[in-house]
């Protein structure tokens, strides 16, 4: 029987010739990523070794990645102390894929990993972050796990209880209209299948639109697959993946892409034609509360955010700069931009985008997760509304339970910054 991409990857990682949805496997892990929550992973890891009489040892330090991004630089003594503890652990265990708070190689884990060439097609990637689904953009099977599960992976080198997920096939056709793109596509999909429509399932993306989409866009749709509950989102690797790996990630000899069999079994097929898609907005307080922009145009916005593991990449910043160049952020709102990584930041500087944004009145912050999850900076005031290119709009998400968060594309965010209200970027086009 034919296999999906996820089935093929898991079969290979488990030393089996054939697996199917529902099988329980113990795949070896190619890459195990954590951010600041490595502090809790370390705690649980040492707990595993307690009373065993053995020295705690990471199974393969070269396969562990740790990237500080959630609270950089530290916002409190507590965070700084956690980071210090992680740094000491990294040195003791000789973990080389470590990205500390630095202006040359820091950033958000889901940007740093791909651009550093750590993620390869066909790999099994686990991360103590739900948006680990991002790395499916490179044809890897990548999924989020908890800290204790990561401690178990650090110990054993494999994941102990992986159930092969059934796969939903999403076929995307058509050409995006100007000012419409991958973010609008994924918001539309989540709105269609709901926040639990892919729970315990994988989403495999196909179709001409996906084939034409650059890796940066594929990262957006795989990143937010988890907002439909998906275990993983995956774009089967192709020539674009190999181009990205060679040209942008410094991987000289990328492995051959893994493709699904033509007779693979899918639990559901969803077809989307993007040619008629308009900008989409996820309204408070669930990510599947998605509406076409026309229904929310004019909504007053107190804070605009461009960034995050979803939309903080160079093309996102370029789109925003293109709209804001020579214009001003409305006096009635404030705009925060945080590039996804140091490399993105540098390229945006070189291209002049940062100058465009700062001259327009935006505040450009250091790479990191920033205000997305309300732990660090850019909190909302009581009753305030944010319009953000991030990935979640849950109650309390941006640091204030009385705040409201609308999710959108970078083009919508930039156009809205000029007006101070939710604005259709196609206006006047």
């Amino acid at each position: 029987m034919g296999m999906t991409v996820v089935e093929k990857i898991l079969a290979r990682a488990s030393g089996q010739t054939s697996v199917k949805a529902g099988d329980v496997l113990e795949p070896r892990v190619d890459l195990a990523m954590s951010h600041e929550n490595a502090a809790l992973v370390i705690n649980q890891f040492l707990e595993i070794y307690k009373e065993t009489g053995k020295d705690a040892r990471v199974w393969d330090p070269s396969r562990v990645a740790i990237v500080f991004d959630h609270r950089v630089p530290a916002e409190s003594a507590k965070t700084a102390t956690n980071q210090k503890k992680v740094r000491e652990f990294v040195a003791r265990h000789m973990i080389s894929k470590f990205h500390d708070i630095r202006g040359d190689r820091g950033g958000i884990c889901h940007q740093v990993l791909p651009e550093s060439g750590y993620v390869l097609p066909g790999a099994v990637v686990v991360g103590t972050d739900s948006h680990t689904t991002s790395h499916g953009a490179l044809g890897a099977f990548a999924f989020g796990i908890g800290a204790t599960e990561m401690a178990s992976v650090w110990t054993l080198g494999f994941a102990v209880n992986v159930e092969v997920p059934a796969t939903i096939k999403v076929e995307v056709t058509g050409e995006f209209a100007p000012m419409v793109g991958p973010k609008d596509l994924i918001l539309h999909l989540i709105g269609t299948i709901s926040a639990q429509g892919a729970n315990f399932r994988a989403i495999e993306f196909h179709g001409e639109t996906i084939r034409r989409m650059p890796t940066s866009g594929r990262l957006v749709i795989c990143n937010m697959s988890v907002e439909a509950g998906a275990t993983a989102g995956i774009v089967p690797a192709d020539d674009e993946t190999l181009r990205y790996l060679r040209e942008e990630a410094g991987v000289a000899n990328p492995p051959a892409p893994v493709q699904p069999d033509p007779d693979a079994t899918y639990v559901q097929v969803v077809k989307i034609d993007v040619s008629t898609l308009t900008p989409q907005i996820a309204c408070p307080h669930t990510v599947d509360n998605v509406k076409p922009i026309a229904e929310v145009v004019g909504t007053k916005v107190h804070q605009i955010v461009i960034g995050s593991c979803t939309n903080g990449r160079l093309d996102d910043i370029a789109a925003a700069a293109g709209i804001l160049r020579g214009k001003k952020v409305s006096e009635n709102t404030r705009m925060l931009v945080f590039p996804a990584s140091s490399r993105v930041y540098q390229r945006a500087l070189d291209a002049g985008y940062i100058t465009d944004l700062v001259k327009a009145g935006a505040v450009v912050m250091n790479p990191g997760c920033g205000p997305c999850l309300g732990v660090h900076e850019g909190a909302l005031g009581d009753g305030e509304t944010a319009l953000s290119t991030t990935n979640r709009n849950f109650k309390g998400r941006m640091g204030n339970p009385t705040g409201a968060v609308y999710l959108c594309s970078p083009a919508v965010a930039a156009a809205s910054a000029v007006e101070g209200v939710i604005t259709d970027p196609r206006k006047g086009a």
Partner: protein
Amino acid sequence: MAKVVYTIENDISTDVIYPGRFMATVLPSETPAFAFADDATFNGMLKAKQVPPGSVLVAGENFGCGSSREQAVSTLKGHELLIIARSVARIFMQNAVNLGLNLVVAPGFEAAQGDEVEVRGEEVVNVTTGKKFPIEKLPRARQAIVDAGGLIAYTRKRMAEQASAPAGRG
């Protein structure tokens, strides 16, 4: 029999269960203080010690959606709650199994605050209304972790097996 102390709607995210701004607190001994921190009613009840161990929290569908933060599980475990949810998001489910949270998934489950409920074998009974709901079974791989007493104990067991394997006793 146990009493339902609180009910919550569908799609309750980990940001509601354990708001992100408390994420620098990681130890299971410290996380319970911030359970449902932005829900003044429930957090107030927990803080006022009006929720005895074994009390039931009834959740809707897609409970625990969102982030992978394990604090969202340890914070509930610390209060020794029994969670009955109509469905649960994958990562939360996995974390619950790994840490040994008392969690029952019963599709369609209905109960109001104050109802008495009881888990009987493969079903959960709302004793107050007399209605019975089948419990969704855990996949067998997860059951092995529950049986071992959580993922830490299970990993120790697997580590011991790995260590003895090269000896080639078989």
